[in-house]
Amino acid sequence: MELRVAATKKFCSFDLNVDFTVSQDRIGIFGPSGSGKSTLVNLIAGLQQPDDGIIRLNNETLFDRNIDTPPDRRRIGIIFQHPHLFPHLNVKNNLLFGFKRCTPENRRIDFDSLVEVLQIAPLLERGVNNLSGGEKQRVAIGRAVLSNPRLLLMDEPLSALDDTLRFQIIHHLKTVCATFSIPYLFISHSMLEMRLMADEVLAMADGRVVDQTTPENLARSRMGVSPVGYINLLRLANPRRSDGLYAYRWGTGELLISAGNDQPETLFELSSKDIILFKQHPEAISARNLFRCTVAGTFASANRVGIELACGKDRLVAEVVKQAADELGIVAGSELYAAIKASAFRRIG
């Protein structure tokens, strides 16, 4: 997907002025409340008109001075921040609203499996007015996905959901979007969701795109101020069972992970805060993973130092406070021991 947006939109006390081009399929939009994320989404979908500017998707101009393609012909789906379900239709017909309007070759998404992942099968025949908050949001997600849009805009779709459900749905959203190659823009104020869902991130503040970068870089630059630090994402494969834990090949050895499973490939996250570094090999440590590595580089963020560790061909980012970096004499090229608890890894995909 190639999306170019250069647009301004002025409200009395707020003005949006963005200009960016993205060419990845999985874009994140990150920014504090009131920074203009929803407004941007509305402009792209054609629900509001820019005061001026152009919007182009895959070489097709959706908006400029002369063109303003109506929303239904943009084939851009939205999951709104507020679910906006049709009160006169039951859950099933809400879900199928967009699906029915697809040309037959676009009716590609499997209704039943989507319903199962969203855990809304028991609701199908119900009206939507008495659904719980989370149930509504799930129906809205299903409705937008089933319409198989050529770009899907998601405005904080997961914030009403509990963690378990949230990660299940993230997993499914990604799979569906990948399978049917639906590119998307994903709004969230969770850096973690951003890391999981996006390949490229637009950081917004006060109606401007203040940064366009990878989620990795955004996470690095925010590592120092973020309470969760930098999140390492590890895609690991072919585990072996070991005493109730899972051992995955990584670096020059193995990582023991308690959240592993029997899938051939799994994605894990690991916070930079969960890595403890030693100058010398520590004895009898509770952490299940202890390995030798080299410092490939360092970077500073607030009062922390990010340390890129190389272990074989694999890389990890650990973080320590400046003091510790000095004390351990960490510079590029130093050799260190890194300890990671088996429980520090979180399975996410």
Partner: protein, 228 residues
């Protein structure tokens, strides 16, 4: 209750027929007018608003007169369009339908508009982004969501039609068995010295019909609130 003669029965049936046909006929136009006035911006919107609402402001007799002038033998439409087609409207029950439709139209449109104006725009937007074109959206989202207004408006219009007198009597004439509706019959009885009881009996019929209509309306409205 006095005995009704066949003339009265005919009047009752005719009244029902006229009101129903007028209401059904007006529905698509009323809905379109309401839609256009609620959602579209265009020049001359105010003029449309005015035309729709005129029949309300003018005494029905005047409307009857205007219709007669327009649709009659020498009228613009009467002469140019109806006569060449061989259609005779004036003094037929169709004229009563037209009179009823014109008089009730503003009520219908206004009711539908109130219902429409309160539709959450988010739903309309959702529908558009799900690939429904504007007409599709009108039919599958806006129409069902303004159904309360449509039903209330139809009930209003139907009831108003049952009582329509001033305009009908002018364009349709008061021809027993042909164009004499309940109100015309009531008028006739009420204005003869000993027709009071008959007039009253016909009033009761009117009331009964509207009870039925109201019950039906309430039933429809209630069905629309999905209880689940």
């Amino acid at each position: 209750m006095p005995e009704f003669t066949s003339a009265e029965y005919t009047a009752i049936l005719l009244s029902l027929k006229v009101s129903i046909v007028a209401t059904l006929l007006s529905l698509p136009f009323g809905f379109s007018a309401a839609y256009v006035m609620t959602y579209r911006k265009f020049r001359g919107k105010f003029v449309l608003d005015l035309i729709v609402n005129l029949p309300l402001t003018l005494p029905p007799v005047v409307i009857g007169y205007i219709l007669l002038v327009v649709l009659g033998q020498n009228g613009v439409i009467g002469k140019q369009i109806l006569q060449p087609l061989g259609i005779k409207l004036i003094f037929t029950w169709k004229a009563a339908v037209i009179a009823t439709a014109v008089v009730g139209f503003p009520l219908l449109v206004r009711s539908i508009r109130i219902g429409m104006e309160t539709i959450d725009q988010g739903l309309v937007q959702a529908s558009r982004t799900l690939g429904a074109g504007w007409f599709d959206t009108v039919m599958t989202v806006i129409l069902p969501l303004s159904l309360r207004g449509v039903i209330a408006g139809s009930a209003l219009m139907f009831a108003r039609g049952l009582g329509e007198f001033g305009a009908t009597i002018i364009v349709a004439g008061n021809i027993p068995g042909v164009t004499q509706t309940i109100p015309l019959a009531i008028y006739e009885y009420a204005s003869s010295p000993d027709g009071d009881r008959m007039a009253l009996a016909l009033c009761v019929v009117s009331v009964v019909i509207s009870v039925v209509v109201l019950l039906f309306h309430e039933y429809l409205s209630r069905r629309m609130i999905r209880v689940d």
